[in-house]
């Protein structure tokens, strides 16, 4: 097991930057997932950790030892590649045992260790087969076995599940999680699949265009995205964004003059343009065009996913999706959408998150109780 320290690492391909000044610490035994769109530099970062790519500037240290100039085979990392990268002419046993053969481990011990790893991965019956005689899932397992057999300090995964079909992907995801629970090997897992990222990560890193957008637990990153990019990237259907303007008292006013959250105050200058972000699952439809505190919704298409309903439409010209539990009765006639203030995300013009003032004071309601419990207004 090992820790990784990445200090202001840059990578240039010619003059094009792929990674631009990245700092990251991976704790011993943790499972870190790097999530980002295709081309954002995830693989490049992983390959620099592995030693397959030179580091243009900065330092990478494994267990406190700077490894910039250390050969890939001597860094104590094992890697699982997206397309498995098995040796085509070797049997499963030879594939798994190759690192041990290179290291000069005696044949008997090698067979023993390969056998143990194969048993762990359910590959016991396939040891004599060639990769071409295996299914995608089995190849994936062999690739895992090849990484595990050396008992490395660090596992590096580069989108290892993206070539599998949906069902296998879920199964392998669970298996990777189980293996990590058992082996506790420090793992860095690169993916562009948010579900994989959310489910596997202890620590989630969202990358965009060669820099880190946010680091945190999956829950933190999902509930409190630091930027519009992160907010938009996580969640399905993605977060809805509505243009808004700050009024003189710091409240967000939506297009059409709607002010659904009068108690939510931002410390921003009047007339600042922001975007209000609302997750589809945080929205509840209410009957009636101008229900109290609701935003008028123009429904368009209703999708029934079986487990969930997705209701697509517009609010003041912006596309909005609402996710509802299955079998929610859909109100006929005009509808509005409601969201608790705690579900409101706000982003500035440059994409940074804007926080509302710490504890908004609920305004007294003329009749009945406040629509939301005061505690739900807290942001901590």
């Amino acid at each position: 097991m090992a820790s990784i320290d990445i200090r202001s690492v840059h990578k240039l391909y010619g003059k094009t930057p792929a990674v631009r000044g990245l700092d990251l610490a991976v704790e011993d035994g943790s499972f870190l997932v790097i999530l980002g769109p295709s081309g954002c530099g995830k693989s490049t970062l992983l390959r620099m950790i592995a030693g397959l790519e030179d580091i243009s500037a900065g330092e990478i240290a494994i267990d406190g030892r700077v490894v910039n100039e250390v050969e890939p085979g001597r860094r104590g990392c094992a890697m699982v590649f997206q397309n498995y990268a098995l040796y085509p002419h070797m049997t499963v046993a030879e594939n798994i045992g190759y690192a041990l053969k290179v290291a000069g481990v005696p044949k008997a011990e090698r067979a023993d260790r390969v056998g143990r790893v194969a048993a762990m991965l359910g590959l016991g019956d396939l040891l004599a087969r060639k990769p071409s005689q295996l299914s995608g899932g089995q190849r994936q397992r062999v690739a895992m076995g090849r990484a595990m057999v050396r008992e490395p300090g660090i596992f590096l995964f580069d989108e290892p599940l993206s070539n599998l079909d949906a069902k296998l992907r879920i199964q392998m995801r669970l298996e990777i999680k189980r293996l990590h629970r058992e082996l506790k090997t420090t793992s860095v897992f690169v993916t562009h699949d948010q579900v994989e990222a959310m489910t596997l990560a202890d620590t989630l890193v969202v990358m965009n265009q060669g820099v880190i957008e946010q680091v945190g637990t999956p829950a933190e990153v999902f509930r409190r995205p630091k930027s519009r990019f992160v907010a938009n990237f996580l969640g399905s259907p993605p977060m809805n964004f509505l243009p808004a303007e700050i009024d003189r008292r710091g409240r967000a006013v939506l297009a059409g003059g709607h002010m659904p959250w009068p108690d939510l105050v931002f410390e921003l200058a009047a007339e600042t343009r922001i975007e209000v972000g609302l997750r589809p699952g945080d929205l509840t439809p209410v009957a009636g065009k101008a229900a109290e505190g609701a935003i008028p919704f123009e429904p368009d298409i209703l999708e029934d996913l079986g487990s969930e309903l997705h209701w697509h439409g517009t609010v003041g010209g912006s596309a909005v999706a609402v996710a509802l539990p299955a079998a929610t009765p859909i109100p006929a006639g005009p509808v509005g959408l409601k969201a608790p203030p705690s579900a409101v995300h706000a982003f500035l013009g440059d994409g940074r998150r804007a926080e509302p003032a710490a504890a908004p004071i609920p305004s007294p309601k003329p009749s009945g109780e406040a629509p939301w419990r005061a505690t739900s207004l807290s942001y901590t």
Binding site: L52, G73, P88, H89
Partner: protein, 272 residues
């Protein structure tokens, strides 16, 4: 299938059969002439009236034909081994490392393919004579020990080899020679067979360089041996055809054994 389509296929086959005859006939004529007695050489007919082995005994009497064949096998074999070895190492270097001037090196190698033999034959000859390689089989092999053709074919084959597999081997701790020998090479059998076969055949058929370098019959190779029967007083057709038959037998045997690979290698290298 419509009548028209089948008519087209028949026509195509007729043409192909005709072309096959064109290709096979000279070979057949060579073989049957080699069995004709001297007085029968110019008489017509598809078969020798009285087949005789006299031309063959004449050839074996006139020159150490077995030794010459042996020389040729050694020369072509050594040339092939050398070209494959240098080609593998050069191609591996070009594929494995990106280095300044790598692309330039590759273009220069490709360019060297276009340099005609006539341009380098005098310098090579002078060098060979200074090194004392005149009239030796070694002298025949060394100038052909590296060839652009094998470098480029193997380069293309290796470039098609998945980069991740090489990287996986690096992660597994294997050094560069080990990766070449244990990971890349075993997956390169088809291009290696192509290069070897084409290289062997072209070395076997080489004429000019041995003609320049070789003085004595016992150091000679078959293509030079054939020349012995072409004299100013006219060609000695019977023994010439017998020697030519002997010269082509090993290649013919190679072809029969590796038929599939030979055809493949010609198709793949774009030479037909």
């Amino acid at each position: 299938m419509t009548n028209r389509a089948s008519a087209g296929r028949i026509a195509a086959h007729v043409v192909m059969i005709g072309l096959s005859f064109l290709a096979i006939f000279p070979v057949y004529w060579m073989i049957q002439t080699s069995f004709r007695a001297e007085n029968e050489i110019f008489s017509g007919g598809l078969f020798p009236a009285v087949p005789t082995l006299k031309n063959y005994t004449d050839v074996l009497a006139a020159m150490p034909m077995l030794r010459i064949l042996g020389n040729t096998v050694v020369m072509a074999g050594a040339t092939t081994l050398a070209q494959v070895a240098t080609g593998l190492l050069a191609a591996w270097a070009l594929v494995r490392w990106r280095f300044p001037g790598g692309a330039l090196a590759r273009s220069l190698i490709a360019l060297s393919w276009l340099v005609p033999f006539q341009v380098v034959m005098i310098p090579n000859y002078v060098l060979a004579s200074k090194l004392g390689l005149l009239d030796t089989v070694t002298g025949l092999v060394i100038p052909n020990a590296a060839a652009a053709f094998s470098v480029l074919v193997l380069y293309n084959a290796m470039r098609g080899f998945p980069r991740e597999v090489i990287e996986a081997a690096r992660m597994d701790g294997a050094g560069n020679f080990r990766i070449l020998a244990e990971v890349v090479l075993p997956n390169l059998s088809a291009p290696l067979a192509s290069v070897s076969i084409l290289c062997f055949i072209s070395a076997w058929n080489d004429y000019f360089w041995p003609l320049l370098l070789i003085r004595r019959m016992e150091n000679s190779v078959v293509q030079i041996g054939l020349q012995f029967f072409m004299t100013q007083e006219g060609n000695d057709w019977g023994p010439l055809m017998a020697a030519a038959t002997l010269a082509s037998l090993p290649i013919l045997a190679l072809y029969l054994v590796l038929q599939r690979q030979v055809v493949d290698s010609f198709m793949k290298s774009g030479i037909r």
